[in-house]
């Protein structure tokens, strides 16, 4: 399967992008006008059954939106409460907002270190993934050589294997290479485990690009390497952005790999640091500090998502349409 589906899949994904905006714009325009001639249900008397169904299904939509937003708002609110308030009245707003929780989480609870480690790891691994992934994908998509198919399936086969199985021996491989509990060891691991999807996605993408431009560049005397970096990569930008966002989120939020391979408290990344924090704050009883840490880790990603909403959605959904 796969290969024949891809061109359509990558074509369908970008169309997911503009959609929400279109809709949001449409809805905004519609509501003032729609409200005037009676915005309520009885716009068209279409029988009681349709109305009940409408109320029910619209109710479900609203309910789910609440269920998604409520835990997040609750976390933000809780991060400003005192420990006492957290336990005695989980749903009440704080009497006095405790901004101190945030300061404590940032300095004493090592949130700043976790952020820094995560930035270093993801910065390195994302660059490496995109570079190595696009190089391999380009060669596999555009050059005919013996073993091409085999290597392609070797790469994409990694997508369906349970990672935990490989982690047991990998732990000792890294240990032998003195890469265990180091940030660069983690970077290399992230790159390796991001390659299957990156290669899969970008191979499909490079195949959809026209060959004529690259041929012209080669005729003009550019080397293959130069053609790749100066002609093909710029042409592949939409695909690179999609897969880049996909990898960024996956690597930023990674939990399994660092939990197994990076246990040094000094080098913990955000997700495992927060779990560590939950354990240690449990002993100290500093729950408000922990909530501040959670919200601190949550907000930048959410804010980035809201700003780059179209690209993020396109990038992530393109990923699953395989």
């Amino acid at each position: 399967m796969g290969t024949t589906d891809i061109p359509r899949a990558s074509g369908a994904a970008p169309s997911a992008g503009p959609r929400p905006h279109e809709r949001a714009g449409g809805a905004a325009k519609e509501s003032p006008g729609g409200a005037a001639p009676g915005g309520g249900p009885p716009r068209r008397a279409r029988g009681g059954k349709g109305r009940t169904l409408n109320v029910f299904s619209h109710g479900m939509l609203v309910l789910w939106a609440f269920m998604v937003v409520l835990p997040l708002l609750w976390a933000v609110m809780t991060s400003f409460k005192t420990d006492r308030e957290i336990f005695t009245a989980p749903w009440s707003p704080p009497a006095v907002p405790q901004f101190d929780n945030w300061a404590r989480a940032w300095t004493q609870a090592n949130m700043s270190d976790y952020f820094l480690n995560t930035l270093l790891v993801v910065g390195g691994s994302l660059t490496g993934t995109m570079l190595l992934g696009s190089m391999a994908a380009y060669v596999l998509a555009r050059f005919d050589f013996p073993g091409n198919r085999f290597l392609y399936f070797l790469f994409i086969g990694g997508m369906s294997f349970p990672v935990i199985l490989a982690l047991v021996p990998l732990f000792y491989v890294l240990s032998n290479l003195a890469l265990l509990n180091t940030l660069h060891g983690l970077i290399l691991t992230y790159i390796a485990y991001s390659l299957p999807f990156t290669v899969f996605f970008l191979t499909a993408f490079f195949r959809t690009l026209p060959t004529s431009v690259a041929e012209a560049a080669l005729l003009d005397g550019a080397s293959h390497t130069r053609t790749f970096f100066q002609v093909m990569l710029p042409m592949a930008r939409p695909g690179l952005i999609s897969v880049g966002i996909f990898n960024f989120l996956g690597q930023w939020n990674q939990y399994l790999l660092p939990t197994v391979l990076n246990t040094d408290p000094e080098r913990k990344v955000l997700s495992q640091g927060l779990v560590q924090l939950a354990v240690s704050q449990g002993y100290k009883g500093d729950w408000s500090g922990l909530f501040a840490g959670l919200v601190m880790a949550m907000l930048p990603v959410l804010a980035a998502y809201i700003v780059f909403q179209r690209q993020v959605v396109a990038g992530l959904t393109a990923g699953a349409l395989k």
Binding site: W91, L132, S160, L165, F171, P196, Y255, A278
Partner: protein, 307 residues
């Protein structure tokens, strides 16, 4: 020219392939090999023991428990998630009130899509920690919410063996529905409007439209979503929620009530020093994953409709 081509291909493939082989392929092969040994992981020495690990596994009660839990998750979580997501996506794209022959989504569908997607961008670790608090029996948000509406019913969500696995599964559903709503919306928006309009003219209701038009045309996407979701529910995602949310030595809940296969692999390898046995369980997990993918791929295979 030809010479240059091969040098270029080799040059570009060398680094990615070397890294991938050393960090992914080689450990996988090693893992399968180790499952036939008595390697502890603590010392480099080991001996071949044939199928003894596999025999032990078949008689291991905790293995069967975690196998069963993984099976529940891989059957239930995708089913609930995809059904909810299909329902929401249909409402957002096609379910709007019909004015004339126009087929639209309900009002504010753009807003819903943005909001539903929130959990997808958050780390599973953050989500798991948040829900761990929400589930807390005395002061948690859920139970105090129940109290506030006058319910005396206060389950110990994560501490009660009868509830723990369902509570964990609910978190997995919560995290992933939004993603599939957006994914299916993208698929639905590429279905030509004429199809809906024709159905509408023939007097088809919403349910008929959904089962006769939307679902069949979206089937490929649903199926790949199903596989994707199943791999999550068997692998890293399930590991993270169970590892973080449920207590017990190395997670797994009271009386192993939430232990899943990846967690059991982890516990055996890195807590108990039984690396060889851990890889045996890992091989079982691999078999389950591949079997699941194969079954779903065969399910309702049909002619591709071109439109």
């Amino acid at each position: 020219m030809h010479h240059g081509k091969y040098r270029f291909v080799t040059g570009f493939l060398a680094a990615p392939l070397a890294l991938y082989t050393l960090f992914v392929i080689w450990p996988f092969l090693q893992a399968v090999y180790y499952s036939f040994t008595d390697w502890t992981g603590l010392s480099p020495e080991y001996a071949m023991v044939g199928l003894r690990n596999y025999e032990r596994m078949l008689g291991d009660e905790v293995f069967w428990k975690s196998f069963q839990h993984s099976l529940v998750l891989v059957l239930l979580v995708p089913l609930v998630t995809l059904s909810l997501a299909l329902f929401f996506a249909f409402m957002l794209n096609v379910g709007g009130r019909r004015r004339g022959a126009a087929v639209t989504g309900v009002r504010g569908s753009g807003f819903y899509k943005i909001v539903y997607f929130f959990p997808q961008v958050l780390s599973i670790a953050i989500v798991a920690l948040l829900f761990q608090f929400a589930y807390s029996p005395n002061s948690g948000a859920i139970n105090s919410g129940l109290r506030a509406v006058g319910l005396e019913w206060q389950p110990d969500w994560l501490g009660d063996p009868d509830w723990a696995l369902w509570s964990v599964a609910a978190v997995l559903v919560w995290c992933t529905v939004g993603f599939f709503v957006v994914l299916f919306s993208a698929g639905m928006s590429s279905i030509p409007h004429d199809f809906y309009e024709a159905a509408l003219l023939d007097g088809a209701g919403r349910a008929t439209t959904f089962f006769r038009i939307t679902l069949p045309l979206l089937w490929d996407t649903v199926r790949s979503g199903w596989i994707y979701m199943g791999i999550l529910a068997l692998g890293a995602e399930a590991f993270a929620v169970v590892h973080i949310m449920t207590v017990g030595p190395g997670g797994g809940g009271p009386d192993h009530s939430t232990t899943v296969l990846p967690l059991y692999v982890y516990a055996k390898a890195f807590r108990d020093g039984q690396a060889a046995y851990a890889t045996t369980i890992g091989v079982a997990l691999l078999v389950v994953t591949l079997a699941f993918a194969a079954v779903v791929l065969r399910l309702g295979r049909r002619e591709r409709l071109e439109f």
